[in-house]
Symmetry: C2
Subunit: 258 residues, 2 copies
């Protein structure tokens, strides 16, 4: 039987509110068994960009990353957010290590081809060095991975944190029984976006297209759910979407099932 | 016989000039055998502080680190500088991993006591997790360590990179034959500070106080040299001070000897 591994992707406002951030990390540190955290930090990056006078450009919720934007992403994701997560986890006796995709050649990527939109210095994942992650997990060290990769030729690239979480989950499901949890600002996929109690508890693949038609799944949630089915079809055991409470309990959130 | 380990501390202008930075890292990647890099990034941090409207406060070349200053230090040292070093080393086929003292609980510190000067969020080293560094070196992964530590209670602390380099060198000299090289903007300790050819080739401990009297060793060089003797007396085999060329050759630089 494979060992259990919990992979959490955290994003959104949680990272930007110190109190919530600490509660989240305290709960994370209490997860039994092996665990791995993937994070972004887009709100914090945007705030610094504004302070530095660098224009924030987004198309369909995706960041256009020029060279100045990448510098701020590297500073905030791999620096400010990642190291604060790690130092707080150490306080909670979780031996964490913060990593970007360049560290130990963890995640290589290639720059996204320009079709209709030029996203700039954005990378799509090519390979994941699961061997090194396995070594860390054996040493009881929990990786904390930020949403940056590298092209192997000296260029760091901005990479979607949801994609990193799903690709790592797939890769590690060779050796582990992986549960993937996406933590964001809402308690799950909501039938009525203004009612936090209207959680759609289960989304089956058969029902999924109907939910898009009914506009219950829209915008940024569409690629997120597509990532989930891709991961489930490639070895990941369980996937949940919800707010920070899903670390403790998956009763009130959305479960994605095939 | 112990394996050889080269530890380089790099600081100053090298990190701020892209071309020199790449040459330095190319030469670093060619060092045979085990290696470890320690870096700061003070000039880059100061530049971002000015852009963000945060006052830069220095006393005797040491940074007064308030909370905003620490955030910029974390962003630049652990983020921008560290991850660019790592991604460029990967390009040169050196499998590097970037770390702060919080990662894998690498370096704990305690906040410096306020005597005459309150340095703020500055930490003096308490412990070094050489076990994890050994594990990385066994995996042929080269650590790249920035000048940040943590107090074990969720607080990152700014820590002098020279001290990190010497303390790590001492700790690792238990298991390795350590050569420590301090790379900065000058080719060594200069008899005439305006003449780069006036390198003092060897500084013996017996002569050292006379050199301070004669003002050949002054200001920031005093604690640097004191760090060196401390390291030599505690197990480090060789110590050199010079510019980036000392990675390739130690012919034209300053050797510190007991």
């Amino acid at each position: 039987m494979k060992n259990k591994l919990t992979i959490i992707k955290v994003g959104g406002g949680i990272l930007n509110e110190r109190k919530l951030f600490e509660i989240f990390l305290k709960n994370y540190s209490k997860i039994k068994g092996l665990k791995l955290l993937v994070h972004g930090g887009g709100i914090i990056a945007s705030n610094y960009m504004i302070r530095l006078g660098i224009p924030v450009k987004m198309i369909d919720g995706r960041r256009i990353t020029d060279s100045n934007t990448l510098d701020v992403a590297v500073m905030t994701y791999a620096g400010l957010v990642n190291k604060n997560i790690v130092s707080i986890l150490q306080k909670f006796n979780c031996n964490a290590i913060g990593l970007s995709g360049a560290d130990a050649n963890l995640i290589t990527s290639k720059i996204r081809e320009t079709k209709e939109i030029d996203y700039g210095l954005v990378g799509d994942i090519v390979s994941i060095n699961d061997n090194f992650i396995n070594q860390l997990l054996k040493l009881k060290i929990s990786p904390v991975i930020c949403s940056l990769t590298h092209n192997g030729n000296g260029q760091l690239l901005n990479t979607n944190a949801d994609s990193i979480a799903s690709e790592i989950s797939i890769k590690l499901s060779k050796n582990y029984d992986v549960t993937l949890k996406y933590c964001f600002d809402k308690p799950g996929v909501l039938v009525d976006e203004n009612d936090n109690l209207s959680i759609k508890k289960t989304i089956r693949k058969n029902d999924y297209k109907q939910l898009i038609k009914n506009n219950i799944i829209s915008d940024g949630m569409v690629p997120k759910i597509e990532n989930c089915y891709y991961a489930l079809e490639n070895g990941v055991s369980n996937i949940f979407i919800g707010d920070h409470d899903i670390i403790k309990s998956t009763e009130d959130c959305t479960k994605i099932v095939l």
